[in-house]
Amino acid sequence: MAKYIIKRFALMVITVLIIATLTFFLMNLLPGSPLNEERSTNEAVQQNLEAHFNLDEPLIVQYVLYLKSIATLDFGPSIKQPTETVNSLLSRGFPISAELGIWTILTAVISGIALGVFAALKHNGLIDYIAMTVAVLGISVPNFVLATLLIQELAVNRDFFPAATWSSPAHMVLPILALATGPMAIIARLTRSSMLETLTQDYIKTARAKGLSPVKVIIKHALRNALMPVVTILGTLMAGILTGTFVIEKIFAIPGMGKYFVDSINQRDYPVIMGTTVFYSAFLVFMLFLVDIAYGLLDPRIKLHDEGGG
């Protein structure tokens, strides 16, 4: 197990490094630079600024400096917001984004599984049809459309929830709904089909033949097996939710990391782009790692320490 974790950790570092490198060179391929919009500044100031942010160095030197900043976890100052460092933006934005993300995941997973299980148990009944109709809608409507609809219906037309910002639990309802509905629908459908399949398995018959109660048969014997496929797609869903937060934070004016990330790209704020990208990718890679561990814990047939021959 320890060996597996070390190996996975090394892989994670390499993955993040590759993402960071790609981002660095792609970013420099983008037309424009953080400073050249400000034509008004005179030549000397411009050169001073470039020197200050090391933009006058050859690209390879910049790259090495940048790697150093990753290694020391200090991404330096923002170019566009001189009073801010990248780290201060991250530490301010991340808790808010994390809050949005965690609530979204929890909402999606819990309600998705519950919906899927009920639909499977009431197979071909009314609950099943309703749940699956909701699921199809949830999958096909993009989150930004849903967000706009929710704001229009529940915040503007009816004053149920505030329309924007992130200052009280009531403010959190609409963005979480907008972001969670898609993943919830995917989880519900997957849970339903996997549950239906699991319920026909022989070991379910064995469990029933033992005289166990239906609740015990479903929770102990069926659910755990039925959730395996759900766990496998959790990583993909998390990546989706993470990118979803960019859009949702923008729509609801939530001051999270996503907002800084999108703004930084628009403004070519190199250090912020790099810092947020590295942070996002490290975070996601770590989440995927947790999902793998969870899968190994759920399914005893998967031996983590045996994987990859190591």
Partner: protein, 331 residues
């Protein structure tokens, strides 16, 4: 001898998109204490459905017990509530299914699966339940039971898993064990070991066994009595001797002719031609008519009455009717 199970005129159907499958159509079966009854018959003749009905394990919908009674120790299982049936499942009656590779939950330890039944039904501590489970594993011949308890199904071979399934079924000391093709998925040497295990357990515990199988070789080895099923009906029952040496129903005769026998080495096997009837619309008369070499006019129109050839031997075929003998003589 005490009769512990008495099935009378059992009808079970499945309602599907295509119509109603009449899987079991008036089955009568009796089982006495300490005996092994084998149910044999071609695939799809209703063996499993009959067995599953006993513990009300028919998936419903689509399945339904439409008619008949299943008396287990005096109580009619068909009339009990689900809760009352659960108190009998795994305690008084246990069941073993065909495929040991899939009968165990892959995500739970053997120990957990062995003890959960007894924990559910008896007021005993986890420790006592573990002791019990280890004793059962010893009984079925699993070495190192203490360590094995913590392992998962995939760490066992097929034969070992079937032993575990048997241990699981026996842990609450049931009076009736229903084994639905318990050895079909195993290779021949393991099959023999498992059958010996059944016999040993029966000697030691006095459990009654219903053994469902395609394999007449197994039947010849372990059954006391045999019920031959065809198209949802029991068409002949008798002791092992009666069925093997005096088979009366043309279908039983055909079945026996289609298996290799030790005393007729080298002879060609004669499989029964044709297929069993469609159970969506079963024929009114004898369902074997289309395949029967001795079929008469009456066969296709009226179902034959049961004839008792001895106290233990009964058959449902028109050939037993007095008039049939005249008919055969005249033709």
């Amino acid at each position: 001898m005490d009769k512990i199970l008495d099935i009378k005129d059992l009808h079970v159907s499945f309602v599907t998109y295509g119509g109603e499958v009449q899987a079991v159509r008036g089955v009568n079966l009796e089982l006495y204490k300490g005996e092994t009854l084998a149910i044999v018959g071609e695939s799809g003749c209703g063996k499993s459905v009959t067995a599953n009905s006993i513990m009300k394990l028919i998936p419903s919908p689509p399945g339904k017990i439409k008619h008949g009674s299943i008396h287990f120790k005096g109580k009619d299982m068909t009339k009990l509530s689900n809760k009352e049936v659960r108190k009998i499942r795994g305690v008084d009656i246990s069941m073993i299914f065909q495929d040991p590779m899939t009968a165990l939950n892959p995500t739970l330890t053997i120990g957990d699966q062995l003890t959960e039944g007894i924990k559910q039904h008896r007021k005993i501590s986890a420790k006592q339940a573990n002791h019990h489970a280890i004793d059962m594993l010893k009984l079925v011949g699993i070495p190192n039971p203490d360590e094995r308890m913590k392992q998962y199904p995939h760490q066992f071979s097929g034969g070992m898993r079937q032993r575990i399934v048997i241990a699981m079924a026996l842990i609450c000391e049931p009076e009736l064990l229903i084994a639905d093709e318990p050895t079909t998925a195993l290779d021949v040497t393991i099959q023999a070991q498992i059958l010996q295990l059944f016999q040993k357990i029966q000697r030691e515990t006095g459990v009654s066994i219903i053994l469902i199988t395609h394999d007449l070789g197994i039947v010849a080895k372990v059954a006391n009595r045999i019920a031959v099923m065809y198209a949802g009906k029991v068409i002949e029952t008798g002791t092992r001797q009666e069925i093997f040496y005096h088979p009366n129903h043309p279908y039983t005769q055909g079945l026996l002719n289609s298996v290799p026998r030790l005393d007729q080495k080298g002879e060609r096997l004669i499989p029964i031609d044709g297929t069993p009837p469609d159970l969506f619309a079963p024929p009114e008369g004898c369902p074997f008519t289309a395949r029967c070499p001795k079929a008469m006019e009456v066969c296709s129109r009226i179902y034959p009455f049961q004839t008792e050839l001895s106290q233990t031997h009964a058959v449902e075929c028109w050939l037993q009717d007095e008039r049939a003998k005249k008919y055969i003589a005249s033709s």
